[in-house]
């Protein structure tokens, strides 16, 4: 029983973090067919902006989080304007933007390292203490992460399902030409999606760093897992990505408990390969291109 609570607690926390960092990636792929390799750098940027606002400027966390989301949202917008937009006009977009965003990610990582140094720093936004359930300690930080992630996912779901902007995003993801023929300005949709994805990356980066600290390359591992989750769910399938993120989070917690941390990623990848052999389009992917 205690073991189960322990695994559930850390599994759901991992899942929440993965889900949040995956949603943005999945949205961007779903609407633009763009694999954003700068996503990891945006996670780190978000973490560091929050650190800067709270730790250096000494402002409260309620300012640090929105500031980080704003900065990363703007960064996403700039990625659209400077890289994606000019490349969309001509052929070979998917390959070219893939390579371009690797470059953007590297530059961003460098800027962060030069500004804040290569050594790890602690994220000041952290709750201390724990909830005691029988003999198990569930840190408040884990509960906070779970709560923030789920709340954010609800916001995104409402945005996509209930608002005009969300309808435009879904329409663009499902059929680009048809969306334009409805009067949707798809260039604006793309910019909005990249900005939203940046803001989500910031939040996710803050949560990750509140557990494991800040490092300039801290986004690499979560981004890799986010890609894995995207592929398991079916690329571009946002809701599937959330489910897959929690499944993989729980699975990882279980493997860590049974076999130890060092095996978790390798086994995760094995499972992913098995899933893809079984269902090449992903767990929730349709046979054709997967859509929102």
């Amino acid at each position: 029983m205690n073991v189960a609570i322990q695994i559930l607690s850390s599994g759901l926390t991992l899942g929440a973090i993965y889900a949040l960092s995956t949603i943005g990636l999945s949205l961007v792929y779903g609407s633009l067919n763009m694999l954003n390799m700068a996503h990891g750098a945006l996670l780190a940027l978000g973490g560091y902006v929050c650190f800067y606002v709270m730790g250096v400027l000494g402002l409260p966390g309620l300012l640090g989080v929105p500031a980080a989301m704003l900065v990363c949202g703007l960064a996403g917008f700039v990625v659209y304007q400077l890289a994606a937009r000019p490349m969309l006009a001509s052929g070979g977009f998917e390959t070219r933007i893939f390579i371009a965003t690797i470059g953007i990610g590297a530059i961003l990582g460098n800027v962060i390292q030069r500004s804040f140094g290569p050594q790890p720093v602690a994220q000041p936004l952290a709750l201390h203490g724990a909830l005691v359930l029988g003999e198990v300690y569930v840190p408040y930080q884990n509960l906070l992460i779970l709560f923030v992630s789920v709340a954010m996912m609800a916001v995104v779901a409402l945005l996509l399902g209930r608002t005009r902007v969300g309808r435009a995003i879904r329409a663009t993801a499902q059929n680009r030409d048809a969306a334009q023929l409805m009067g949707i300005r798809i260039g604006r949709v793309y910019a909005q999606v990249l900005a939203l994805s940046g803001a989500l990356a910031a939040l996710s980066g803050i949560l990750i760093s509140s557990l494991s600290g800040l490092l300039p390359n801290m986004g690499g591992d979560p981004m890799l897992k986010a890609f894995v989750i995207c592929i398991v769910a079916g690329l571009g399938n946002v809701f599937g990505a959330v489910v897959a993120a929690f499944l993989l989070g729980l699975l990882e917690a279980l493997i860590q408990y049974l076999l130890g941390v060092q095996y978790s990623f390798a086994i995760l990848l094995l499972i992913v390969i098995a899933v893809l052999i079984w269902r090449p389009a992903g767990l929730f992917g349709r046979r054709q291109v997967v859509r929102l």
Binding site: A168, A171, N175, D177, A178, L181, M182, G183, G187
Partner: protein, 237 residues
């Protein structure tokens, strides 16, 4: 009669391949004009150029004198040109109702949404029962009705239909033609692409035969019906 849509010496294509060559066209208010002609001769390309999905490499396109040929597709929709594309291009993960409502996405159309939805259901009663079904799971005939209905939700000044009867069973084609006749009777301006020249000739005010990127023949339905043999070579009749 003043022209609603005017094309002057329009050229368009893909990369170096020119598909539309020096094509001119005037479509009057309230007219039903048909584009006929063999496969692959640029009918769809012409409609995509008018709606801004493709940019013309030369010439001008105007709606009531207002130049459209440098505008984005969303601006052209806003100006009043509604394009129901070949192959429907529905939003597969949305329901029938959501698809129809997407047609009324622009604010001006959104104000008329409830009224137009009733009109669409009156035209295609079957859609009323299918409102909640995902578009990706519809039959070909139902998909076509949603595609046309979605276009009608937008209102607009000119409706462009690209092969609305393509690939449908005869009985469904009859239903689609009935709808087109209703639209025509209501005074809508329509530009329709149709492979079946003889059938559309009964409804159209004017037909244009597109051959190799420009018009090889233009005339009324009566003219085409009275001497189809002169066009038989093109139409394969």
């Amino acid at each position: 009669m003043s022209a609603l849509l005017t094309l002057e010496r329009v050229s368009a294509g893909y990369g170096h391949q020119q598909v539309i060559r020096d094509l001119s066209l005037a479509l009057g208010e309230g007219q039903l004009a048909a584009l006929i002609g063999p496969n692959g001769h640029g009918k769809t390309t012409l409609l995509r150029t008018i709606s801004g999905l493709l940019h013309p490499s030369g010439g001008t396109i105007a709606l009531e004198g207002r130049r459209l040929d440098r505008l984005r597709p969303d601006q052209i929709v806003e100006a009043g040109i509604i394009h129901v594309p070949q192959g429907d291009l529905l939003f597969p993960e949305m329901t029938v109702l959501e698809n129809l409502r997407m047609g009324a996405y622009l604010p001006e159309a959104a104000r008329e949404e409830a009224r137009r939805l009733e009109e669409v259901f009156a035209l295609f009663p079957k859609l009323r029962d299918r409102q909640g079904q995902l578009a990706g799971t519809l039959s070909g005939g139902e998909r076509r009705m949603v595609g046309i209905g979605r276009g009608l939700m937008a209102g607009g000044r000119l409706l462009m239909l690209d092969e609305p009867s393509l690939g449908l069973a005869p009985i469904v084609i009859d239903q689609i033609y009935e709808a087109i006749a209703t639209l025509r009777a209501s005074g809508r301006s329509v530009l329709i692409v149709e492979e079946n020249a003889m059938r559309i000739a009964e409804l159209a005010d004017v037909l244009h035969l597109l051959d190799n990127g420009s018009f090889a023949w233009s005339g009324s339905g009566a003219e085409l019906l009275s001497r189809p043999e002169s066009l038989a070579a093109y139409l394969g009749a």
